[in-house]
Symmetry: C2
């Protein structure tokens, strides 16, 4: 991937020379293969070599990558990284270190694979005050959700399929629990809202509670279900969350299927703009990494300083989830007896939650149970959580199967 | 729009001062209003003022804008323009002049309104060899087509509606004949394929021949109808065309509705990436223009040279339409008598055109006519044009109502 090609030479303005590659195991076969003298297992061969101007970090994970990047930047080396975890946990510190050292630290590949999104946020869209981000930025979960919606299969079946296809790892926790998406949202939000966001600032729910019937009911109500990463900025605060979300079927994000990613950005001038493409994989990641490499090379050639770094303001307040206002989708298993709905409606009414629709499903004469699907008008998350606790205590309620937030922003 | 705002000051790194605005009529009320001493009707007050570092051109049209831009660049002024016609007709010359004069000539607003597309093509996606562009880059026609598809209304009804809403001009020729889209495609193709494309290199067909029933039949066949701007680059040639196109319903471009624009770019690394947003209007255009202004301001501040200009190679060969291979949709009015289809199939067979599907529609016992809708497998445009001439000569064929090309590229 980093072998200098004629195309790279042409767009960079000069040939790039690969001096060293840090690997764990020199004897492992690689494609494309590299001459053995370029390989090393000692990071000092790179970080301590004053001849090396640019370090590309694609090892992933926080440790030791964060320390390597910090060291490289401190030594005055430009860095191009694909590391979302490092940027989500140490981004603001590293960005400001790079500005001090007058080197470039570029990380387009950290979010959305090869989809240009960091570039547009930090350059093309700079004149905008960004108010929101809605993103599908984990291909593994989007593949799983697409299969559950399309084939009516269970979460575990879809996960198994994704693992067999190489879309999901043996331990899928990072993807299915939304950890990977939260890292990426932290990076996006830092750039979009010009503030210091840490991975821990992002509220997070995974997709494993979803069942095939949730997709059926959602469709009946006019929605798709996606794992959305949502960031909103307003005044001095930001709201950051990753969770399964009901998305209106006619919205472009509802149409993002399989392993594709998409990021929708809303700004005061641009309105809504959406970026869609392959969010992972060897080639798309190469596209983003090499795009950054070319940018650094061009700056080195023209003797120009690094692009001005965004001033990341001291953290805006991260709003707690309890302060959220949202619509909700609720699926409950209840005794099929008169009056259950009245009890539930009573609890909602007391807490100022207004019901938008009720569907009664799967009446089972044998167990005398039924499934009720309720959607609400915008309500406070705090009230919704309190109502769930009360509803769970009702004698006629067997089980709260699922609660999914609805994001119902207008299409225009 | 160009009043320096705190936001612009913050992202540019310093305050921008608006020195002069060239207008046709000083007495005309403006919003936001400008102090009268900033207004002038004499271009020399701007082009001849050595204090002015940056000229923003948003007047539109080829004359006198092209001359003004040329003059400004020659005087060593940076230029930001939203002018697709100038860039489609004089872009390569002006870009190379700007490189000689070491000034920036930026034109993000010329294509796709505020959607970042020139930026990604010339920066983020540079490591890619771009093979194709598929774009919906005229909001007026996309609005008209969306209304025809959704409401079953005629072209003239939809056009009238678009005019009433201010989406179409009193003389809609530039939009409905694809001239505006051809300008934008010429600019996109120059940047994507690193070559000199002129507006006249683009083959062009407008949308006025489409009828409501074409949308019905297309939907039955699994397609939407869009005015696509298509560019393909391969080897030493390019193929450039703007025409109504049948697009598979499950493709993202089929889902771009109303006045929205979208550009899909395919590269060897990135695969397909799509940019979607508002392609016109005051605010989106401001987003792009001001993004470019900020970029110039940052470069001035950091004392850095203009970004390296793309080397636009001497023109690649523009392939003639006769060399195109495409699938086709054909709607014919024929006598409702046995043997007509056999005659048509015979002509196709002789010319090596293979039929994919046939629908018989609207049999009218009174006039003894029927409508036949034929789609083909990939065939040569030259053969298709010859077959149309022969089919038109058949006694049983009353009228060839429409021929629309089908673009059936895979979704993945």
């Amino acid at each position: 991937m980093l072998t200098p090609t004629p195309r790279l030479r042409s767009v960079a303005g000069f040939g790039l020379r690969l001096k060293r590659a840090l690997v764990r195991d020199i004897s492992k076969p690689r494609s494309p293969s590299l001459p053995p003298h370029l390989l090393t297992t000692d990071p000092e061969d790179i970080l301590g070599d004053p001849d090396i101007q640019l370090v590309v970090e694609v090892m992933g994970g926080e440790t030791p990558a964060a320390a390597y990047i910090r060291r490289a930047v401190s030594q005055g080396k430009h860095v191009v990284t694909a590391n979302k975890e490092v940027m989500a946990k140490h981004g603001p510190e590293l960005i400001s270190l790079a500005a001090d050292k007058k080197v470039n630290l570029l990380f387009e590949a950290a979010v959305g694979g090869g989809i240009p999104i960091i570039g547009p946020l930090t350059k093309d869209l700079l004149a905008n005050e960004i108010s929101s981000i809605h993103a599908i930025i984990n291909g593994t979960t989007n593949y799983i959700l697409t299969r559950m919606a399309g084939e009516g299969i269970s979460f575990s079946e879809a996960l198994k399929e994704a693992q067999e296809l190489g879309y999901a790892e043996a331990d899928p926790t990072n993807d299915v629990e939304g950890i990977d998406a939260a890292y990426k949202l932290a990076v996006l939000a830092s750039m979009a809202f010009h503030t210091r966001v840490h991975a821990d600032d992002v509220y997070r729910e995974g997709i494993s509670r979803l069942e095939a019937k949730d997709f059926l009911y959602a469709r009946e109500l006019g929605y798709a279900i996606k794992l959305l990463a949502i960031g909103r900025g307003g005044g001095d605060s930001v709201q950051l969350r990753v969770h399964p979300t009901l998305v209106p079927q006619d919205h472009m994000l509802a149409k993002v299927d399989g392993v594709f990613n998409a990021v929708e950005v809303e700004g005061d001038l641009i309105g809504r703009v959406l970026f869609h493409g392959r969010g992972a994989g060897r080639e798309p990641t190469s596209s983003a990494v090499l795009g950054d490499v070319v940018e650094v090379a061009r700056r080195i050639r023209s003797g120009s300083e690094p692009a001005p770094t965004l001033e990341l303001e001291a953290s805006r307040t991260v709003l707690p989830m309890s302060g959220l206002t949202s619509k909700y989708y609720l699926r409950l298993n209840v005794a099929d007896t008169p009056g259950v709905l009245a009890q539930i409606a009573g609890i909602f009414g007391d807490l100022n939650i207004s019901i938008a629709s009720v569907l009664q499903k799967d009446v089972d004469p044998a167990t005398q149970t039924a499934e009720i699907v309720v959607t609400t008008h915008p309500a406070s998350e705090e009230a919704m959580q309190r109502s769930l606790a009360l509803i769970e205590g009702l004698g006629a309620v067997r089980r709260i199967n699922n609660m999914v937030r609805i994001e119902d922003w207008p299409v225009t």
